[in-house]
Amino acid sequence: MKTKKLINAGADAVDEMLQGVLAAHPEHLYAVDSMPRAIIARNGPRKGKVGLVIGGGSGHEPTFLGYVGKGLADAAAIGNVFASPPPDPIMACAMAVDGGVGVLFMYGNYAGDVMNFDMAAEMLALDDIAVRTVLTTDDVASAPADQQDRRRGVAGNVFIFKAAGAACDLLYSFDEAERAARHANARTYTMGVALSPCSLPQTLKPNFQIGEEEMEIGMGIHGEPGVARGPLKTADVVTDELMDNLLREMKAERGDRVAVLVNSLGSTPMMELYIMMRRVKARLDGAGLVIHTSLVGNYCTSLEMAGASITLMHLDDELQRLIDHPCDCAMFRR
């Protein structure tokens, strides 16, 4: 049985999507000439500002291209579904947004992305464009706490990019912008659960198998296996399981503030996200933590996968200021 999708040829899906994005948001975005997978903010990149280039595979929309705009990322390099972009669009992005003070690359920590972005950075160095890289590693399910640098980057991207984008928009120096980005990443924790798979447009077949009454805790946003598989539990029990892990990692003190993201992996509807949010709030109340801001919805998806993730960003004064800084992207406004 094939998954039903509203697409044309599977191999054209990413490029046609990008054409649709430009058709819908010409006031926010454009593509570099003859490089349709290098998507640039109309407003934002400028002289003297650190350029922020994000990117990764398609299929996570609105991550990445939805976060390109004034106050957030300057450009996104777009790969095939669940596949890193190659170096060419990455380089095109960097050249389009370079303000002369350095370009920051930020993306999820995946072998493919690292190799492609590193190749791009090496070649840009030949053109005297200084590049530094901050990998996002917020997925607490993907490696133990003492090996944070091996973790995957998942929905926490939204807050981490947001903070870094604000730092760049506020004209932080290259050093300071890099520091702020690392700081944001270090204080952001995500964990998710998947209930059912998605299908790639080229195969229309489920990308993993899961039982009719099972869930996978810690599932990656590309359908990579997580930490455990078990029977589907209630929203409260699942939320507790995720929150237990996040709170244990975060080591916050009573009175600390957090930003919360309850994110759908795709087909889990808002009703379920808000039911989880209710429990998140109860747990945070119980721990004496204050919700400074919350996002609930489709922020970092895996096509039509069912499931959800919870992200907590442990705020301090600086991160709070950066998260509150206004931004105006095609798919995200603050």
């Binding site: 190659p86 170096p87 060419d88 072998a111 493919g112 190799m115 198998q209």
Partner: protein, 215 residues
């Protein structure tokens, strides 16, 4: 009889056909321990490489340029992990046969070994880490070991193919230290690495190519 640009064009076409035949199978393997797209990535990359190489004027293009063209095309069509790995493999192969108007058996063998080198250089993986290196490294070693005055060209590659298959099978019992699967600990045991599986297919195509030439 030397290996010409025309021959390499055929080789890339053969690889593309053989990978396409296993596309969905490779996706399934990747679905178990990765993100389920490896067949798509390899198909897109090999197809792009074959097309780009086919578009070259064989009478004007030296073998090194064939490899470089394949590298660029593969990389830009794929990204992912396989993109830089195979792109670097092809670039190193190209570098290994720089300035040669045609390839001797020895040249081709060096190019083959250079591919394995390139993959390791780019991905920093060692054998035993459950990656495509577990197919490429033993295959290159087997071919180089067998290559001596008097050995037949295609026998070297038959041995390479066998070593690749064995190496691929051996990934079944490994935990992963590189790539997506590296976060899964014991859960990946029992599953073949998809990159090793596709490597075995590519190497088998090369062995077929070698046989065809000799036979």
């Amino acid at each position: 009889m030397a290996i010409t640009t025309k021959d390499l064009q055929h080789l890339f076409a053969m690889i593309a056909v053989d990978i396409l035949a296993q596309r969905d199978h490779l996706c399934e393997l990747d679905g178990a321990i990765g993100d389920g797209d490896h067949g798509i990535a390899m198909d897109a990359g090999c197809e792009a490489a074959a097309r780009a190489v086919a578009a070259l004027d064989a009478t004007q293009t030296p073998p090194t340029a064939v490899f470089n063209t394949a590298a660029k095309a593969f990389l830009n069509a794929v990204g992912a992990s396989s993109g830089p790995l195979y792109a670097t493999a092809f670039m190193r192969a190209g570098a290994a046969v720089k300035d040669r108007p045609e390839l001797s058996d020895d040249d081709f063998l060096r190019a083959f070994a250079a591919m394995a080198e390139g993959i390791q250089e780019r991905g920093k993986a060692k054998p035993g880490e459950k990656t495509m290196v577990d197919a490429w490294r033993p295959a290159a070693d087997a071919a180089l070991d067998a290559w001596q005055p008097g050995a037949s060209f295609h026998q070297c590659f038959d041995l390479a193919e066998r070593a690749a298959r064995r190496g691929c099978e051996a990934t079944r019992d490994m935990t992963a230290a590189k790539g997506r699967a590296s976060r899964l600990g014991e859960r990946v045991i029992g599953h073949i690495d998809p990159g090793a599986a596709s490597a075995a297919i590519v190497i088998a195509s090369i062995a077929k190519f070698a046989q065809h030439r000799d036979g």
